[in-house]
């Protein structure tokens, strides 16, 4: 009995317990509902199937959640502008590639130029957020609220309020698949972003700095680590991730749809970080946790779609999950429960 308890305690104490547990839960419930959930077939040389769809569609979110993880860890705040920044990046890329036309059948400018411009746009947005948060010490959510609302407006201006189409096969590759490779390209992009970030955190001491700043900014100052610089960098990085994610999302629909690219993804990204077992109050983080969290959320979304819930309605459930996770992390709730337990216990004694 005790051994079992100890085992459960050790298991639940494991950092990645929450995200893995949730992922398994979602997958199992899917398997029960849709027996063919894990079936994979090949059509036109590309892998098809529910599970492939989940992994493919999750890519945008995985990329976003990588950036969001760093922002949350360093600044104990969230960047709610990521969805809008995605749409800006998509618009910039399509604008460059279409040369200002509404629909083109071939690139007006070299492909790489569009990609670089989109990434640069993401980075600039990140710089703006980072400046407000790190330098002017504005609460992260208010600071990023500016781009959250204005970002889509800027994207609209770039596309002149129209949906810009790039009907070029090579543009679609990033969001679909490269001929001859059965696995969808976004999966690779996500993988590369995650790996590069991992390497960046490993090969520089950025990861250590971010955690230190997130846990104890006073101590980090006395050790010569500039917290404002680290926080700024984390926002820039988050902007970069949003830019890349925007590119993928735009390539999926080979167009720049300012209203719909990255819609509601900010909530998903925050949820991925929280589901990944990371505290939204900042500090220690697990990149892998957030990545698993992101896949879990996509699996959940796909499940809900399959059940006939429309994309507009899904946020209801996700919002509830966010509040529940955050409430469970709250020390105040733990204190209340403790108090209640003590009261119950003393009540028993009296009786």
């Amino acid at each position: 009995m005790n051994k079992g308890k100890a085992f459960i305690k050790r298991l639940t104490g494991y950092r990645l317990f929450l995200p893995i547990f949730c992922l398994v839960l979602v997958l199992i419930s899917n398997l029960i509902k849709t027996p063919g959930f894990f079936e994979v077939t090949i059509k036109n040389g590309v892998l098809y199937g529910y599970i492939i769809d989940v992994i493919n569609r999750a890519s945008d979110l995985v990329i976003l959640s990588v950036g969001m993880t760093l922002v949350v860890a360093a600044s104990a705040g969230t960047d709610i502008s990521v969805g809008a920044v995605m749409s800006v990046a998509g618009a910039v890329c399509c604008f460059i590639l279409s040369g200002g036309q509404q629909t083109v059948n071939e690139f007006a400018n070299p492909y790489i130029l569009g990609v670089l411009a989109a990434i640069l746009a993401g980075i600039l947005c990140g710089c703006f957020n980072g400046f407000l948060v790190a330098r002017l010490k504005i609460q992260p959510m208010v600071a990023t609220l500016i781009l959250f609302t204005a970002g889509r407006g800027i994207a609209q201006l770039i596309t002149k309020g129209q949906i810009t189409y790039i009907r070029v096969e090579s543009y679609k590759m990033l969001g679909a698949s490269i001929p001859g490779i059965p696995i969808p390209t976004p999966v690779f992009v996500a993988l590369i972003v995650v790996l590069l970030t991992y390497v960046l955190l490993r090969k520089t001491s950025l990861g250590l700095y971010i955690q230190t700043v997130g846990i104890n900014p006073k101590a980090s100052k006395l050790m010569g680590i500039k917290s404002s610089m680290i926080i700024f960098l984390s926002y820039v990085f988050c902007g970069l991730c949003a830019g890349i994610s925007g590119l993928v999302a735009s390539s999926r629909i080979y167009s720049a749809d300012a209203n719909n690219i990255g819609l509601n993804l900010e909530l998903d990204a925050i949820l991925a970080v929280a589901l990944g077992g990371n505290s939204l109050a900042g500090g220690k983080f697990s990149l892998l946790g957030s990545v698993i969290g992101a896949y879990t959320i996509q699996a959940l979304s796909t499940t809900l779609y399959a059940m006939g819930v429309s994309p507009d309605q899904i946020p209801v459930y996700k919002a509830i999950v966010v509040v529940v996770i955050v409430a469970l992390q709250s020390t105040e709730l733990k204190r209340m429960i403790n108090k209640l337990q003590i009261n119950v216990k003393s009540g028993k004694k009296v009786a």
């Binding site: 969230t78 407000l132 609220l145 500016i146 201006l157 939204l280 209801v316 509040v323 709250s330």
Partner: protein
């Protein structure tokens, strides 16, 4: 004792705002003179089209004075409009009953958010972010299609003009005298605004709101009930959101999922432009009114100009918000140095 009058930072911010509004309006008079910008009705339209925002900005001001924020307001407006439309059109509920139900719904929504924020001490951002997605999603669950309101009583509320004869009328082609007018929604908005002003300025509860925003610890030490005050603020704000949503619905006479998107930023921007500090403790609902009027004027410009996309409103508001945030932060730094 020094008699040197020093210009207070917060007064200065408010003066900038009022000046900005006057300059903008004057500029409008000059630029769009030929298009009839000088008509009294143009000015009154600022109030008519922003009646809902005036109410919601007042609530936002209150929340921000406590040092909190509520980014769910836009979605709550959408949910309110949708609820109203759905209840009256699909369920045949009377306009008055429907109104009462949505007002109660707003209060409950505020109560839940307030409980999480005041009693569980969760960050207001996270809670209201969840609230924002929740309310927007609920709107979609009620109906994905747009519902137009055709309820007679509701339309009567929406369309009964109140002529302001003292402003003088103009005779149109058919020989009918047209007076400048407002709708009842404007009166509701202004009465609410004054009510909140009195609440903030002349009641113990109102002053406690300021105390909590100024220094929560001190407020506790002075024997004020901080948690209850915060909870009540979110409850009142929830009520104001649904009331604002109702006024909004009077303008649009419809409910749809994408309604009032970005409204949260307009409300926050109005409050901040009107001199409410993001750090809490300072704010004034009349300042926020000017914030709303500035936003309205920008919108009017864009309408009069004719070729600019409506997205410019959002971008200009965002830029103004950023500008005022930076201004606030500079003031705070200057004060620190003293």
């Amino acid at each position: 004792m020094k008699k040197r009058e020093k210009l207070d930072g917060k007064v200065f911010l408010l003066i900038i705002t009022i000046l900005l509004f006057l300059v903008m309006y004057a500029a409008g008079l000059i630029i769009f003179n030929s298009k009839g910008f000088a008509k009294p009705q143009v000015f009154l339209n600022l109030f008519i089209s922003n009646a809902g925002l005036i109410v919601i900005a007042a609530g936002m001001t209150m929340v921000m004075i406590t040092g909190g924020i509520d980014i769910s307001v836009g979605s709550v407006v959408a949910m309110t409009c949708m609820m109203l439309a759905w209840m009256m059109e699909n369920k045949g509920i009377g306009a008055v009953t429907a109104l009462l139900i949505v007002l109660i719904m707003g209060i409950v929504f505020g109560l839940v958010q307030g409980f999480f924020i005041a009693y569980l001490k969760l960050q207001p951002f996270i809670v209201t972010l969840a609230g924002m997605f929740f309310a927007r999603g609920m709107t979609a669950i009620i109906s994905q299609e747009m519902i137009s309101i055709k309820n007679e009583m509701f339309l009567k509320w929406a369309k009964s003009k109140i002529n302001l004869t003292f402003l003088g009328g103009a005779v149109n082609k058919k020989g009918v005298i047209n007076y400048p007018f407002i709708y009842p929604s404007v009166i509701i908005a202004l009465v609410t605004l004054i009510g909140i002003f009195i609440l903030l300025k002349f009641t113990k509860f109102g002053r406690t709101i300021y105390a909590v925003g100024g220094n929560e610890q001190s407020a506790l030490m002075m024997g004020l009930n901080v948690r209850r005050t915060k909870l009540l603020v979110y409850v009142i704000n929830g009520f104001l959101c649904s009331l604002g949503g109702f006024l909004f619905a009077l303008n649009t006479c419809a409910g749809f999922v994408e309604q009032a998107k970005g409204f949260e930023m307009e409300a926050i921007a109005s409050a901040v432009i009107g001199g409410t500090l993001l750090t809490g403790g300072v704010g004034n609902v009349f300042g926020s009114l000017f914030g709303v009027l500035i936003k309205g004027t920008i919108e009017t410009f864009i309408t009069f100009q004719g070729t600019l996309s409506s997205w410019w409103t959002k971008i200009t508001i965002a830029a103004l918000l950023a500008f005022f945030i930076i201004l606030q932060s500079l003031f705070a730094k200057a004060k620190e140095k003293q």
